[in-house]
């Protein structure tokens, strides 16, 4: 299972590959796009963050591609805005043509137009979680359209992953492994993923919830208490971080092709540590005969094991509890 790792600066490339990354992905600040639309009109899901989550120019991107290729690794460019408009698509096409010219290997997309254009240009296409892929029928459709890899949604069970893998064996499947949780589905969130305002889901944590009954009857104290306590747990603890490390052994059995570290905005030290830790755990899993054996040997990413116990930070909480207890 390959480790697909983000970066936002050429300084990170060699460190990440040495840490165990098999493939890299990044965003880029595209001058022509910014001149026309500005950074707040999404080129990718982190374009408003500018240089803190994206390479600053096509020249820097070309340099990163050369560095990655020197070490035998592929580099993908993130173009994962949900849907571009007719006004925007010519700029995307131009950017992809430049990417191909400077040796870029592939793109991560959510827009079917960009999938088609990318294939015409000769780029590998990974379909982003931002396209809503939850079932085998959708995977088959995208495969027929030319997709090379499908990145499944975050909020999907291991059993569904297994079934999809079984039904569609001739396309690469990637799952989320670490960081950047989403309370909702990224694919179905229309709000602005904007640095200035912050994510909408986190904004809800600061909002006032008033519960009502549909039948307009007055709520009992117990009902109010139950609802508000549930809401407290949801906003205070659920998906503050996200981790799928416990599932590595099982994902290897399912023959999942890649796992994703999220964090184009993260500092190099964190991404390197995350990559190393996932690499370590993949190697451990390869040498374990059973899942329980793997769970006992895991290099745990968190010191706060209570978060693991409740499963609020788990991509795959169904694994939790396999401790031999």
């Amino acid at each position: 299972m390959k480790i697909f790792t983000p970066f936002n600066s050429t300084n990170m490339v060699n460190s990440l590959i040495n840490a165990g990354a098999d493939e890299l992905f990044c965003g880029v600040v595209y001058k022509r796009w910014n001149e026309r639309f500005g950074k707040d009109v999404e080129l990718n899901r982190r374009s408003s963050a500018g240089a803190s989550a994206n390479l600053t120019s096509m020249e820097e991107l070309a340099e990163a591609i050369a560095m990655a290729h020197k070490l035998g690794k592929r580099l993908f460019l993130t173009l994962n805005h949900h849907q571009y408009t007719n006004t925007q698509l010519p700029y995307i096409k131009e950017l992809m043509a430049e990417l191909k010219t400077i040796g870029g290997d592939g793109i991560i997309v959510a827009d079917l137009n960009v999938l088609e254009m990318g294939k015409e240009i000769g780029l590998k296409v990974a379909v982003s979680t931002v396209l809503n892929v939850y079932n085998a029928e959708t995977v088959k459709l995208l495969k027929d359209m030319g997709a090379d890899r499908i990145i499944l949604s975050r909020d999907i069970s291991l059993e569904d992953i297994r079934r999809i893998r079984e039904k569609v064996s001739d396309i690469e499947i990637e799952v989320f492994m670490l960081n950047a949780p989403c309370k909702f589905s990224d694919s179905m969130c229309l709000t602005l993923h904007n640095t200035q305002w912050g994510n909408f889901c986190r904004f809800l944590n600061q909002s006032d919830y008033r519960y009502h009954r549909f039948d307009t009857k007055e709520m009992s104290f117990e009902e109010e208490h139950t609802l508000h306590l549930n809401n407290f747990y949801y906003h205070r603890f659920f998906m503050q971080r996200a981790c799928g490390i416990c599932a590595i052994w099982r994902l290897l059995q399912y023959k999942i092709d890649a796992c994703k570290v999220v964090g184009r905005f993260e500092a190099v030290k964190k991404v390197v540590e995350d990559t190393k830790m996932i690499r370590q755990n993949i190697e451990i899993a390869k040498n374990c005969k059973t899942e329980i054996e793997y769970i006992e040997k895991i290099v745990n990413p968190f010191v706060e094991l209570d978060k693991c116990r409740w499963g609020y930070q788990c991509y795959f909480p169904e694994i939790r509890g396999y401790s031999g207890e």
Partner: protein, 300 residues
């Protein structure tokens, strides 16, 4: 307004509640009739939407028997049925195939199916090619945020068309919808209207009104209200179906309109430019899909 079709959106919790409360459907029809006027007269409501746009667990819980009762109840009002499916989780697939087969056989001439999933569009168009297939609202990835007037950002200010232009108007999407023999396409109406040309030259258009969906996901907070702490918010757990009883209004001084959460979906009601709404509806075969969100409206 031209030949507008009017539909009442009872997807989600209303779908099953109408069987449990004999006055409910009458009350909901009355609310829509009071809120939506056609030259001061009540609209001619022809159709009711049932099912769920946002939640697999809700669909999982509908049995064929219950579904048949719901359809026949609606039929007794002389209304046609449109069934809405959400994005389809792999584990729901077999049940959804069963439901679609039932729907198509039950009312082959009047049943419509709304699919919000590319895989489901592909499956239905391949398996039931004569069915009236509608591309649902979740395909339309508009840019909106209840906190923000997007026109304040320079990029949107300099390119105001981006505020209303839909990505569904693009070649690959249109080609796919045509391939799947989609008859009708759904969209929200934004504060400043919506640009759906050339889409509307090729497909009939349904406009959801007045609640816009903002965000949704598979893990629902209300699904866990009766769960112990360490079983909350897990995909694999059975749902508590809290959404059939409760909803929340979410208040924040920054919100530019009303925001509420029903189950796993956050919905937003902005201040509309009603002239733009009327303009959109003036085109032939437009459909207004009206959502009553709370029973406060029943007694208002």
């Amino acid at each position: 307004m031209g030949n507008i079709e009017f539909s009442l959106n009872l997807s989600g919790h209303w779908t099953t509640s109408i069987l449990d409360d004999s006055n409910l459907l009458d009350d909901l029809i009355k609310i829509m009739s009071d809120k939506v006027k056609v030259k001061s007269s009540a609209p001619n409501i022809e159709r009711v939407y049932i099912g769920s746009e946002f939640c697999n667990k809700f669909i999982d819980a509908i049995s064929l028997k219950r579904l048949e009762s719901i359809i026949e109840y609606i039929d007794s009002y002389g209304l046609a049925v449109t069934f809405v499916f959400p994005v389809v989780m792999e584990n729901s697939w077999e049940h959804i195939k069963e439901l679609t087969g039932f729907l198509v056989r039950h009312s082959p001439y009047t049943m419509e199916i709304v699919a919000n999933d590319y895989g489901l569009l592909s499956y239905i168009s391949g398996t039931y090619p004569d069915t009236t297939l509608i591309a649902g609202r979740l395909f339309n990835k508009l840019r909106l945020d209840p906190r923000i007037d997007l026109s304040e950002f320079e990029g949107f200010k300099n390119n105001p068309g981006l505020l209303t232009e839909s990505g569904l108007n693009t070649p690959a999407i249109i080609k796919l919808f045509k391939k799947f023999n989609v008859k009708r396409v759904e969209t929200e109406i934004l504060e400043k209207g919506i640009d759906i040309n050339p889409l509307r030259e090729l497909f009939d258009i349904s406009f959801h009104f007045p609640w816009i969906y903002v965000t949704t996901g598979q893990i629902c907070p209300l699904g866990s209200i009766l769960k112990e702490n360490d079983e909350k918010f897990k995909l694999y757990n059975k749902c508590s179906h809290g959404c059939s009883k409760y909803f929340s209004v979410i208040n924040n001084v920054v919100f530019r309109g009303k925001v509420c959460q029903i189950g796993n979906a956050i919905l937003y009601k902005p201040l509309f430019d009603l002239n733009k709404v009327n303009e959109l509806l003036a085109v032939s075969k437009s459909r207004l899909v009206y959502t009553v969100n709370s029973m406060q409206e029943r007694y208002a």
